[in-house]
């Protein structure tokens, strides 16, 4: 009786503590959402809640340069995601499905960027660009090159774990049933790996969109959204920054939840068909 009671408390104690940690992780998000409704027209320098307003949501692009920086961040984010996801996915296939000479070197090369502080990666790229004579041409393209570089590793790791968990018997079965290589790949392998590719792409976009340290060193005069926020932090942050933060959060959550619901519905449909 006592041990059962102890176990019951123990079980819920850990869950309660875990939820408390989650709450801690969400305090800033709640503040960001709250501040997006803050009327800061009286005093821009005071970063505290003054009075409620819809204005920030109705005129999100009011702060000069903010939406331009957002456009830059989104274009770099999309391009970096596209390239990094494509070549990272190919690399993941090579690492899981093939034994080749240099495989462990390739693995190390993929792992190292994740184990290098951003400031070191950013400064080494800058040193390269300057040494190669591109010191005066830093901007959109140098940022894009850098972002693709640090996204690749995360894409490989994400897709690789999905691919490693795949049952290769499914592919063998398809081949036994006279599917050719392309049919097997597009009808069996790709759909099964696709969720992994999708989460890798989502991760790559968020890493690119959010990066500050590497971008700041290699940006020249180009301003991305995090750089706009950084610059604004020295002067007084426009409240619209919080609108963008909240909007991105809702959008990402919608994508993740939408994907989960779709996957469950498909699983249910398949179960019903059986």
């Amino acid at each position: 009786m006592i041990t059962r009671l102890g176990r019951w408390i123990g079980k819920h104690l850990m869950l309660t503590l875990g939820i408390l940690v989650l709450v801690y992780m969400y305090i800033p998000n709640m503040i960001v959402a709250l501040m997006s409704f803050n009327d800061s027209s009286q005093s821009r320098n005071l970063y505290q809640f003054q009075s409620f307003t819809w204005d920030n949501w109705l005129n999100p692009c009011e702060p000069q340069g903010m939406c331009e920086s957002l456009r830059v961040s989104i274009s770099i984010g999309l391009l970096a995601t596209l390239v990094a996801t494509a070549i990272g996915t190919l690399a993941a296939f090579a690492l899981v499905r093939h034994r080749f000479e240099g495989r462990s070197t390739a693995n190390l090369m993929i792992f190292l960027p994740m184990a290098t502080p951003e400031i070191v990666m950013g400064s080494s790229l800058l040193a390269l660009f300057v040494a190669a004579g591109f010191g005066g041409q830093l901007g959109f393209w140098t940022i894009l090159i850098a972002h693709i570089m640090f996204c690749i590793s995360f894409v490989v790791v994400t897709v690789r774990s999905r691919l490693a968990g795949l049952d290769s018997n499914l592919e063998k079965a398809a081949m036994d049933l006279y599917a050719n290589e392309w049919q097997t790949f597009w009808r069996i392998t790709f759909p099964l790996v696709f969720p992994g590719i999708l989460s890798a792409a989502l991760l790559a976009f968020s890493l690119s969109f959010d990066d500050f340290i590497i971008t700041n060193l290699n940006s020249g005069t180009t301003v991305t959204f995090p750089m706009f926020v950084w610059g604004a932090a020295q002067r007084g942050v426009p409240m619209q920054v919080n609108v963008i933060g909240t909007l991105m959060f809702i959008l990402a959550l919608a994508i993740v939840i939408g994907g989960e619901v779709a996957a469950r519905r498909r699983a249910k449909g398949k179960a019903a068909a059986l």
């Binding site: 970063y47 290098t116 850098a146 290769s168 081949m175 932090a233 933060g245 990402a252 989960e260």
Partner: protein, 287 residues
Amino acid sequence: MDSLQRVFGKNAAYWLIGPAALWLAVFFAFPMLSLLTTSLSDPAGSPITGYTLTWRVQNYIEVLGDYWPYMMRSLLYAGIATLLCLVLGYVLAYAIAFKAGRWKTVMLVLVIAPFFTSFLVRTLSWKLILADNGFIVNTLQTLHILGEDGRLLATPFAVIMGLTYNFLPFTILPLYTSLEKIDPKLNEAAADLYASPFQRFTKIVWPLSLPGVVGGTLLTFIPATGDYINASLLGSPNTQMVGNKIQQLFTTANDYPHAAALSVLLMAIIVGMVLVYVRRAGTEELL
């Protein structure tokens, strides 16, 4: 797989790994060499004209003399933040892996979701939470935990707290991955054999979660050591870390050779510490 093998021919693996390997070689490995040569170059030069390699080892000695307190502070702050992340992260990862039941996926998504609100914007909001006239400071002052003119913002506490907050998900995910693999039956068996909950944790769960502990602490400690955003936004000039200095040397002082030397030094210290740590934890196979 055979299907890909047929399409790409015998060298399929190299065609597949090629683009990623090439990109990382040119824009990750090669720049490291560039950083190394810059760090040994004559500081008399400019980012536009470039620097000449003179094997000037003094750069390192000068940088070490000038900035070692920043280096030590970075390691200290990052170390404390990593320990805090480990404690908080372990609790949450354990709860998700063993106690969340059908809420597992939801909780896991919730761990990653804050990522999508810009990291800088979230860090700025801590400025508000820890503000001098804010709720937390006022409460602590009423309780006499904090002196009347005591503050949280612009103290080492704020910086360490910011680091802990920002890198917590990096600790949680590897921890969760290795905790999730533990068979609950092992715990049940130990309980049947009269192991106390504490014994079950120290003899079963903790040792089996070690790969996650090592992975998670590394993924937290390494970026935290190089970070300067928390120190800049939440700290004061007295809490600056080595990242602040590297960034200043590059962007405001335009002194690339010294900046590069400091950067190489940071990387060397981190690699050294990681190797010792991984050896001692007995998890070499992680690398």
